[in-house]
């Protein structure tokens, strides 16, 4: 957390471009794999692609909305009570999201279970509010939260994709691996989520390590 606070202060001084705010959350600081934040939903609800995607989108919406709101009122909040104020804002938006999902897509809402209300406690949201939105204007805040949220959604989709295709042999519920494939039950169990999370973190580290070493050579 301390790291990201320091990092977040840099852009303001150096007036980084808006596109940088957007892009950094997509790969450089991709939430589940680089920051290792928001693991609870990333491990718990990614047993199918649809669940992962809808969870990611719900979080994305809450993230952008609360970052925008906090950024707007950032000068009105007394520092002593800022966390409480953030939580109230997040909780309001999460409640809206939860009720929306229940009304419009009851199936998904049921599948996600308690994890939609639990978005309130998602570290990514509080982290971005604390590290970025509370000291940046609205537009950079939106870009920052949008980037982080899309990165998070991407992480959940990647987890859901691999777990669904190995655990059920299907994508979005459509069977694409035929009868010859025996599903790996482990991938839809929590153990498979942890294995895959470790594997994906290793993969992301490997790729970025390769990129940085190539960059040094060039």
């Amino acid at each position: 957390m301390a790291d990201s606070v320091e990092k977040a202060q840099l852009p303001e001084e150096e007036t980084q471009s808006l596109s940088y705010e957007l892009v950094k959350g997509l790969w450089q600081d991709i939430a589940p794999f680089r920051l290792v934040l928001g693991l609870c939903p990333a491990l718990a609800v990614t047993n199918s692609l649809l669940n992962g995607l809808s969870m990611g989108l719900a979080t994305l919406f809450v993230l952008v909305a609360s970052c925008t709101a906090v950024s707007i009122v950032r000068k009105l909040i007394a520092p002593q009570v800022r966390i409480a104020a953030y939580v109230v804002i997040i909780a309001t938006i999460v409640t809206v999201t939860d009720l929306f999902l229940q009304a419009m897509t009851p199936g998904i809402s049921k599948a996600l279970g308690p994890y939609v209300p639990l978005i309130i406690t998602n570290c990514i949201i509080l982290g971005r509010l604390e590290a970025f939105s509370q000291k940046n204007p609205v537009l950079p805040s939106i870009m920052d939260s949008l980037g982080t949220g899309i990165g998070f959604t991407f992480g959940l989709v990647a987890m859901g994709f691999v777990r669904e295709i190995l655990g059920f042999g299907s994508i979005f519920g459509f069977t694409i691996l035929g009868d010859w494939f025996t599903p790996w039950i482990v991938m839809i169990l929590p153990a498979g989520a942890f294995l895959l999370m470790g594997g994906l973190i290793a993969l992301v580290n490997y790729i970025s390590h390769k990129q940085s070493s190539q960059g040094e050579e060039a």
Partner: protein, 401 residues
């Protein structure tokens, strides 16, 4: 006392000798004498490579046991110069034992179990074993190449992993499952931890546990021996442990002893594993505490329940011979890498694993508990090692600095 001190310095390796006051003084006494009289001390003049005559006594006093001047020469040269007085720290004799030798002895010890499984379940199991071994060897080779480590696949440890994994599979297990399990054993269970000697968990058991979670149906589909010779449509049957757990029906001890029951390839025949295990014991490669403690605690805890209610719980003999207990006791509990090194720790490990096996078998969801109990205790090995460290001779009690 001096010896102890200097030996401690020895274990410090090549770090600059830290001569304590005691060592210094004794070294000063020693300088004129030859090492012959006080074997631990070196004759300073010979080894004073530093050249500083003043410092030599003290320095060599601390360093002497670590490296002698002659030690820099090749051992053969040292032999030639036998006319001179050669002093070296132990070990003085080196055995010809090495990792490949131990590993291939273990493979030899597994031959009876493999042979019995081929006899009981037909030639298909040969293919299963071959696939497991080949995939283990190839993946180990590939991982060592990929991580740019020295290729040590010939040491045979991967082959053992493959054989053990195959012996824990049901006879009708599909080939692709065996490939997956072997890959997981070596890549995740062993090489990602750093290879032989660094793996926390027994690789074969890790592979088996992964397969248990991945293909829970396939890996519990057993067949009767004899019925499988044709392999294609074998008749499914329950293992003795499953029959006991879900049907309360005990299998005869004779069948368990010779292996004429349904079960994993190498786990059915107690006698075949026992032969291999005793051979390993005879060769001195396994510590008797581990299999004895494991089987003993299985028997002990099973006996408690058996005495309490012999109509519900099976006899200790049944529990010792059924399922994977024998194979686990002789070939997995005794794994050198994943078990404690201290004698006391080995007892704790073996008895704890036996206790957990019985608890899982009697009260858990699965009929068999050998795999999880050993893996579970594997996780505790570093802790056990740390807390059962034997006292160093001469060590004072409350000397924590």
């Amino acid at each position: 006392m001096d010896k102890e001190k200097t030996k401690k310095a020895d274990t410090d390796g090549s770090t600059e000798a830290k001569p304590t006051a005691e060592v210094k003084t004794s070294a000063k006494k020693a300088p004129a004498k030859t090492g012959a009289k006080i074997p631990v001390k070196k004759a300073p003049a010979k080894s004073a490579a530093e050249g500083d005559v003043k410092n030599a006594p003290a320095k060599t006093g601390g360093k002497a046991p670590v490296k002698k001047a002659p030690a820099k020469k090749a051992p053969a040269e040292a032999d030639e110069s036998a006319s001179k007085l050669v002093i070296s720290s132990s070990p003085h004799f080196q055995t010809t034992e090495n990792i490949p030798r131990i590993m291939y002895t273990v493979v030899t010890a597994l031959i009876p179990a493999m042979a019995v499984s081929v006899y009981l379940f037909g030639l298909r199991v040969l293919m299963l074993m071959a696939v497991c071994v080949v995939v283990c060897l190839v993946s180990e080779y590939a991982m060592q190449k990929a991580r740019k480590k020295s290729v040590r696949v010939h040491d045979g440890s991967a082959a053992i992993t493959g054989i053990l994994l195959a012996l824990m599979l049901p006879p009708g297990f599909p080939i692709y499952g065996a490939v997956l399990g072997s890959l997981f054993s070596i890549v995740i269970g062993k090489m990602l931890f750093g290879g032989l000697g660094y793996n926390i968990f027994n690789p074969a058991l890790i592979g088996r546990a992964f397969l248990q979670a991945t293909y829970p149906v396939l890996i519990t589909t057993w067949v009767d021996p004899g019925a499988v010779i044709n392999a294609v449509d074998a008749i499914s049957a329950a293992t003795p442990l499953a029959m006991m757990k879900f049907g309360g029906e005990a299998t005869g001890l004779g069948a368990l002893f010779f292996g004429n029951t349904a079960g994993s390839l190498g786990e059915t025949s107690a006698i075949a594993i026992l032969i291999g295990g005793l051979y390993l014991r005879y060769k001195g490669y396994i510590n008797w505490k581990l299999p004895l403690g494991y089987l003993g605690s299985i028997a002990f805890f099973a006996a408690i329940f058996w005495i309490y209610d012999s109509s519900t719980y099976a006899s200790p003999f049944f529990h010792v011979m059924a399922g994977g207990a024998m194979l686990g006791a002789w070939f997995m509990v005794t794994d050198m890498v994943t078990t404690p090194v201290t004698p006391c720790g080995q007892w704790i490990f073996a008895i704890g694993a036996g206790f957990l096996t019985i608890i899982i078998r009697l009260f858990g969801g699965l009929p068999e508990g050998v795999m999880y109990s050993i893996l579970f205790m594997n996780a505790f090995v570093p802790l056990i090692n740390r807390h059962t460290k034997p006292k160093v001779f001469g060590e004072l009690k409350a000397k924590k600095t």
